[in-house]
């Protein structure tokens, strides 16, 4: 019976990818709508700086220091609960943003002629790592709250910086003009890796 395992494994692999592809085909219309979501959000007046500040505020210690020193325990509990919900929501939003970048890259990569398989593999793996980390982080925050997991959040976001670097390399190959503009508009010193 053990000699059957490779055959059953390969058959299962084929079945899995077929099901995933079928699922993707059925959800393709929904995906098209999702791609337009950030544009709508930006049009509504949200700025990149405010989003960054929001994250900083959520995971920052200032509010917690104030509440823990000046408010009763019930208010502290309420604060931690609300901050947990907010942190999870913020992380989900970050994950959506990166997924959007990845999706846009994949659409462009399919048409690019000078694609490098190794870089693509690296990018796919780093994206997978990012998704796993993001989900683990959401789980940690859900269990422990955003204050205790503050250091892990910082660590995870530094990993995302690595992913960002891979994106930049690929963007330089797919669209050098846009990448150049992208580099000039981003202050690298702001991220300490």
């Amino acid at each position: 019976m053990r000699q059957l395992l490779p055959y059953l494994g390969i058959a299962f692999l084929l079945l899995t990818v077929s099901i995933l592809w079928a699922r993707q085909i059925f959800l393709s219309n929904k995906s098209k709508i999702e791609v337009q979501v950030p544009r709508k959000r930006e049009a509504a007046g949200g700025s990149t700086a405010s989003l960054g500040d929001l994250g900083e505020r959520i995971f920052g210690l200032e509010d917690w220091d104030f509440v823990s020193h000046n408010a009763p325990s019930e208010i502290q509990k309420m604060f931690l609960h609300e901050r947990t919900v907010l942190a999870i929501s913020w992380l989900r939003r970050t994950r959506t943003t990166i997924s959007l970048v990845m999706r846009a890259h994949l659409v462009a990569a399919g048409q690019a002629k000078d694609l490098h398989p190794v870089t693509e593999l690296k990018l796919a793996l780093s994206y997978l790592v990012f998704l796993i980390l993001c989900n683990v982080l959401i789980g940690c925050i859900w269990l422990q709250g955003p204050i205790r997991t503050r250091k892990i959040v910082g660590q995870t976001l530094r990993t995302v910086t690595w992913l960002q670097g891979a994106f930049e390399v690929l963007m330089a190959r797919v669209d050098p003009a846009n990448c150049k503009r992208l580099r000039t508009s981003f202050d690298h010193r702001a991220v300490r890796s």
Binding site: Y7, L51, T161
Partner: protein, 253 residues
């Protein structure tokens, strides 16, 4: 009796698909696939003739023609590869080393197994050889489907039908031949029916999806790509800037 019904239904559906392909000019769009289907129809008719007129030769004739059918099935894989990735040069560039890698690994494994065995024996029985050939096809198909899904390559209804139909058949063949090669499973009549039933399901999928020609959406995407590319690039740039603003905070934590 049930086997006879499956046989006749299979032949009828093959004829229907081939007739529709001629009427709808589909055979010019997917030549390798229809060549495969034509050869299968010919084999089925020949098998039936041998079964009726020379039943004593049916056993060996079945295995020789089955080997031919399994080998020519690689034309379907080639057709899928060609049709799915023609309009996506980037994905094709990724697919080539991946698929050659799969083939190379299989050849290497077969060679190593042969070296370890004192007597060269690619497969103990015809069924095992067929199982191995279908397993390689399953690997190649899984690779192509994974790439098509990952890069969201647009595919026409015809191509989706070919892929899903053939995947169903390959999946069922690998499972049934794997279990069928076990001692004790082979003589059970139930295992012999899995493959014809799966083939009938594949034929039904092909009958529905290959009824008329549907253009490949990839061609349309390619013509629109120049127009849409600026939009995508702008969107990507905006998303990257947002992500970076998040990272700015991450660096400070």
């Amino acid at each position: 009796m049930f086997t006879q019904i499956l046989w006749w239904l299979g032949i009828a559906l093959e004829v229907l698909i081939l007739v529709r392909s001629v009427k709808g000019n589909l055979c010019q769009k997917y030549p390798a696939f229809y060549l495969y289907l034509g050869v299968l129809l010919l084999i089925e008719v020949l098998r039936f003739s041998v079964y009726v007129f020379k039943p004593q030769f049916y056993g060996p004739f079945y295995w020789y023609t089955e080997f031919l059918a399994t080998t020519i099935a690689y034309a379907v894989i080639l057709e899928i590869y060609r049709q799915a990735l023609t309009n996506s040069p980037g994905v094709a560039r990724i697919a080539r080393p991946l698929l050659w890698g799969v083939l190379g690994a299989v050849i290497l494994k077969a060679t190593l197994s042969a070296v370890n065995q004192l007597i060269w024996s690619p497969a103990t029985t015809q069924a095992e050889l067929e199982r191995d050939l279908y397993t390689v096809q399953a690997l190649l198909l899984a690779g192509i489907i994974a790439l098509v899904a990952y890069y969201a390559v647009a595919a026409s209804t015809n191509l989706k039908g070919i892929i899903f139909g053939y995947s169903t058949y390959v999946y069922a063949s690998v499972i049934s031949l794997a279990f069928g090669s076990l001692p004790g499973y082979g003589p059970r009549p139930g295992w012999r029916l899995v493959q014809p039933i799966a083939y009938l399901v594949a034929l039904l999928i092909w009958s529905c999806t290959l009824w008329s020609y549907s253009p490949n959406l990839a061609a349309e995407t390619e013509s629109k790509i120049d127009r849409d590319y600026k939009l995508i690039a702008q969107q990507t740039r905006r998303a990257l800037l947002k992500a970076r603003s998040f990272l700015k905070m991450g660096g400070e934590l």
